[in-house]
């Protein structure tokens, strides 16, 4: 399928001051493209969660927005540390967030479940020592 629009954002590890900028930019651009309604709001929620996961848990990574004629895709790809037990990580309430993140109100263990709930398609692949890639798809029905 033809890729019509793409943009990537680098998200640095533990950069709490810029956290949320990428997802805010994604939301603004989607509005300008003409994506609205429920899809826009679900992408906004999921992109925020995934961006914060990059800040809190990863060693840094990239968040990419791809827009196809009938689908919005978000890909988060980091360079580590990787998730040892994916099943446990996907469980609501489970979190490995450190003190710093918790002191800022994060670490409720709802990030990944929230992404999965908001995306129409959700895929996560992780290798310890290599990194994690999350791919989310959002269908553009009659948008």
């Amino acid at each position: 399928m033809e890729l019509m629009f793409t943009e990537s954002y680098h998200v640095a590890r533990a950069d709490y001051t810029s956290a949320g900028h990428a997802s805010a930019s994604i939301k603004r651009q989607l509005k300008q493209i003409g994506v609205g309604g429920d899809v826009l709001r679900r992408v906004a929620v999921a992109s925020y969660e995934v961006e914060l996961n990059l800040v809190i848990h990863s060693l840094g990574g990239d968040l990419t927005l791809n827009v196809y004629p009938d689908c919005v895709e978000l890909i988060s790809s980091d360079t580590g540390p990787g998730i040892p037990d994916l099943k446990l990580a996907m469980k609501e309430g489970y979190s490995t967030a450190n003190e710093m993140a918790r002191s800022l109100g994060f670490g409720a263990g709802m990030g990944l479940p929230n992404m999965k709930r908001n995306a129409d398609e959700f895929d996560i692949k992780s290798t310890v020592g290599v990194g994690t890639t999350i791919t989310m798809g959002f269908h553009l029905r009659g948008n």
């Binding site: 019509m4 629009f5 939301k27 429920d38 709001r41």
Partner: protein
Amino acid sequence: MEVRPYHSVRLAKDLCKGCTNCLKHCPTEAIRVRGGRAHILDTHCIDCGECIRVCENHAKVAVTDPLSMIKEFKYAIALPAPTLYGQFRGLQNPEYVIEALRCVGFADVYEVARGADVVTRAIREKLKQPDLPKPLISSACPAVVRLIQVRFPDLLDNVVDIRQPMEVAAHIAKAEFIKKNNCSPEEVGCFFITPCPAKMTAIRRPLGQKKSDVDGAISILEIYGQLLPFVEKMMNDPSYCPATKYGVAWSTSDGEANAVCPENSLSVDGINNVIRVLEEVENYKLTDLTYFEGNACLGGCVGGPLTFENNYVAKNTIRQMVKQMPDIHPDRDVPTSILNKYPMKNDAEILPRDAIKLDDNMAEAMKKMNRMNEIIERLPGYDCGSCGSPTCRSFAEDIVRGYCTEMDCIHNMRDKLKVMAQQMLELAQSERT
């Protein structure tokens, strides 16, 4: 039929120097400087009046109706915004202001604070319904409602479908006056005494109503000087006031939230703060909230650009006055019969005013977005406003929309000139040898 756009906020061409003050402060990026003066984009302007506040040359003005307009009606009813009370330092009772309004020529006065009491009850009834969107967003500040139309169209379903206090007050005032005086509706005109241009626009282009019940808006600034001598004369004579302290407090930030839903509400003032919180509402981050009150002006309506008194002093005046009023909530003071007798609900839908989309066709919009991002890469990113657009990003947007060209960026133009000058020099030298 297409409704022609109307804005109370206008430009006084002769006074505009083409500086970038308003350009940089407009919360919806509705201003461009072209040909040496500012232009307001009809599609983006929400009539909040921020530009009126920041313009050093007084080139941004609010068009309101002159006081002389009340003579066009046999009977004119004044609808004072409770903010008006906050203009008179040390005022202990709204009744003096109401009396003063009669003295300057109004046949009758109906407090918009009373309208706010009635609306408080209507919204509290509404809040009893199950499955309401969360949070329900106040419709009282027209600038905020228009902000939602323009920037957060998905939140329009959250906006409460109850009329504004000004409209409810106008409808009741007219109906009661006609009944009491046995006159015809054409003989009676209702005039809102307004703290802001946003309300003026809401009268000419109603939000959620087919037609406004208000016939004109007179700015507080215009009427203040005429009321002052009468108010000062009466200051020593206390009497009865029909609105509750809750209705009067709607003029200050948190007044509405405190009346409507003290249990679980949020009140935000200042248009940029409102934008920040609405972003969160849009991202489903405030779904545990029942009610949201947003005011475009700092401090609430007392911070309106057409007020006389500084908003902090006005807020204090209101607070001190309200302290002396009996603590009767509209729940007890407004009879249910009023809610059934007069129209409370909107009779028209509030539609999105999409000013964000780059193109109606999504594929085209994405092409433009790609081009826009390429252009942004080439711009210096100073956001200086010299090109006439508020930021480099909006400049790139204006280029893809076809309103200007990249050479309008003076920084890029200078670099290009340097290269050209060098080329010309080389050319000149090569001919000499």
